[in-house]
């Protein structure tokens, strides 16, 4: 499904601020994998997701989605394969546009946008039904500007938008980090449901070890731009937070103290 082959990325190369964010990163996702990604600050988690989404060009290596090499495709062209939800609730929606307009934009992801009317009556009905499943009452506010919604409502809407056209790959970049715990739990539950219902392949970054263990069928841990742990199947189901910290300590060695603090 997704294949990262020896990917490198250094920000600000040749300067005093040079930061190697991805170093010889290799990762293969199978169809239907729901991978949770953990790691300390600066481990390269978000950089990996952004490299896949095409936010920047990588220095070396190749990225393929569903067998197609997308390494040199710009961000907006890769979007046809990818649904995304960002950490910042402001990033995923157009605040000055209506809820239904945002959905209509998302429904046309990867399609040619011509001079047909931007939203049809049939679509409105479809969106109303889908918004009902969120249980947030947004189906009665379809012509409200998204800027009026709370952070949690926006993340839920962005999730719906990301899955409106079934993506080959769903990227969730700490999408609950900016939410209060109760709202975060709701949005996570919704993420699970959307991934399960649509049989999506997904990657989810989280700073919460518990969430990383509970959700998905596979867990990877990153450190210094590399994947240092990759657990799936039965082994992941048996995993505990203590295991994870111990495994992390074993692989990351001397970094144990600082990072165990960050991770717990």
């Amino acid at each position: 499904m997704l294949e990262l082959n020896h990917v490198y990325k250094t920000f600000n190369p040749g300067t005093i601020n040079a930061k190697t964010a991805l170093q010889d990163l290799c990762l293969t996702l199978n169809d239907g994998d729901f991978v949770t990604v953990i790691g300390g600050n600066g481990a390269g988690k978000s950089t990996m997701l952004n490299a896949v989404a095409g936010t920047f060009a990588v220095d070396a290596g190749t990225i393929a989605i569903d067998g197609k090499d997308v390494t040199h495709l710009p961000e907006h062209k890769r979007a046809q394969f990818i649904g995304r939800v960002f950490q910042d609730p402001m990033m995923g929606t157009a605040p000055t546009m209506q809820i239904e307009e945002n959905l209509a934009l998302a429904a046309r992801r990867g399609k040619r946008r011509g001079l047909a009317w931007g939203i049809t009556r049939a679509e409105r009905e479809e969106y109303r039904e889908k918004l009902k499943t969120l249980g947030l009452g947004l189906e009665d506010r379809m012509t409200s500007k998204v800027g009026l919604l709370s952070g949690g409502q926006r993340q839920a809407l962005t999730l719906l938008m990301a899955s409106l056209r079934r993506p080959e790959l769903l990227l969730l970049d700490e999408h609950t980090a900016a939410l209060d715990p109760a709202t975060a739990a709701k949005v996570l539950e919704l993420s699970d449901r959307i991934v399960a219902e649509n049989h999506l392949t997904a990657m989810m970054i989280t700073h919460n070890m518990r969430d990383a263990i509970i959700h998905g069928n596979r867990l990877i841990m990153m450190n210094a731009g590399k994947i240092i742990l990759d657990i799936s199947g039965e082994e992941k189901k048996q995993l505990t937070k203590e295991d994870l910290l111990a495994r992390f300590a074993a692989v990351a060695g001397q970094q144990e103290e600082t990072d165990s603090v960050l991770l717990s």
Binding site: A53, P74, E75, H76, K77, A79, Q80, I82, R84, F86, M90, M91, G92, T93, A94, P95, T96, M97, E101, N102, A104, L105, A106, R108, R109, G110, K111, R113, G114, L115, A116, W117, G118, I119, L136, L149, S150, G151, G152, Q153, Q155, A156, M161, L179, D180, A182, T183, K186, V187
Partner: protein, 313 residues
């Protein structure tokens, strides 16, 4: 009494000028409000529109065709600014300034190296002229200007409702989101700049016929007049006009109000030379008001929002 009668005499002219500049202001609205780009190309492309139109009419071209050609010239100017910005990585405001500066030379070339070119309504069959602005006849420019304004608003209303137009609005509202939804934001910025400068050149083409000449300096400060119209429209009609077409209409009316107020202060004895200073200061104040308001608002609301949070999702 004489003040009022002379004002009434000047009113049709002020309205006509307001309508001509209103079309330019709608162009400014597209970049400033929809694309969220401050495009300074307009000071040059307004004169380009006027220059191209006048020279073509003088060469015997049909005035309607001349207007269309002027629009095409304006769109080219927008294209250049767009390419400077998206393909060369030049900040939008600087890209506009570069195009504006280069247009000064280009406009002089269009006008045969003269700073001014006349196109008399006696010699040519112009679409509109200042001369008939107070006459009750078919030659009066006001009906034509109203029709052009309504047609422009109608076409824009349709366009920004289409898939393509919606994607341009999304580009201005949130480029991250737009790209994540597969929208080519760079192409859309170029398209928006072309559309905007096409309208600005249309305004320039109509203005040159209205005043019977094109001038190398006719676009000086156009961006500020455009912003003034946008802001006046928003301040007066922002609360009642929600619909997109009405918002554009508010911009056009804003330009008319601007020219009527201008007429009044001129009659009250303001020196013509001070006009641009006064206009700039008024626009500065109106741009500052939302900022000041926001500051005061934040200070008042702070203690409440601390315990509020957004747990209603």
């Amino acid at each position: 009494m004489s003040f009022l009668t002379s004002l009434m005499n000047a009113l049709p002219g002020a309205v006509a000028q307001g309508l001509v500049w209103g079309i330019m202001a709608i162009g400014v609205y597209i970049t400033y409000r929809i694309l969220d780009v401050a495009d300074l190309t307009v000071d040059g492309s307004l004169a380009t529109g006027g220059a191209a139109c006048v020279m073509l009419i003088r060469a015997g071209v049909n005035p309607w065709l001349a207007v269309l050609a002027a629009m095409a010239a304006g769109m080219l100017a927008g294209l250049v600014t767009g390419l400077f910005h998206t393909r060369c990585g030049i900040p939008a405001i600087l890209a506009g300034i570069l195009t504006q500066l280069s247009l000064y030379s280009i406009n002089l070339r269009i006008m045969d190296s003269k700073a001014n070119q006349a196109v008399s309504v006696d010699k040519y069959d112009l679409l509109l002229s200042q001369r008939y602005v107070r006459t009750m006849s078919l030659d009066n420019p006001l009906p034509l200007l109203l029709v052009v304004t309504v047609v422009v608003i109608g076409i824009l209303y349709w366009f920004f409702g289409t898939e393509k137009g919606s994607s341009i609005r999304a580009t201005g509202a949130n480029p991250h989101m737009a790209r994540a939804q597969g929208i080519d934001t760079n192409a859309n910025i170029v398209l928006g700049l072309m559309l905007s400068n096409g309208l600005v050149a249309l305004s320039g083409a109509l203005l040159s016929q209205y005043q019977g000449s094109s001038d190398i300096n006719m676009g000086r400060g156009a961006i500020v007049i455009g912003l003034a119209a946008v802001i006046i429209g928003e301040v007066i009609f922002g609360k009642i006009f929600r619909n997109f077409a009405l918002t554009l209409l508010a911009v056009a009316i804003g330009a008319v109000i601007y020219y009527i107020v201008l007429q009044i202060v001129l009659q009250l004895g303001l020196n013509t030379n001070d006009l641009k200073l006064v206009t700039a200061l008024i626009v500065a104040v109106f741009l500052a008001i939302p900022y000041w308001k926001g500051k005061m608002f934040r200070q008042k609301i702070q203690p409440q929002s601390a315990k509020g949070g957004n747990g209603n999702a």
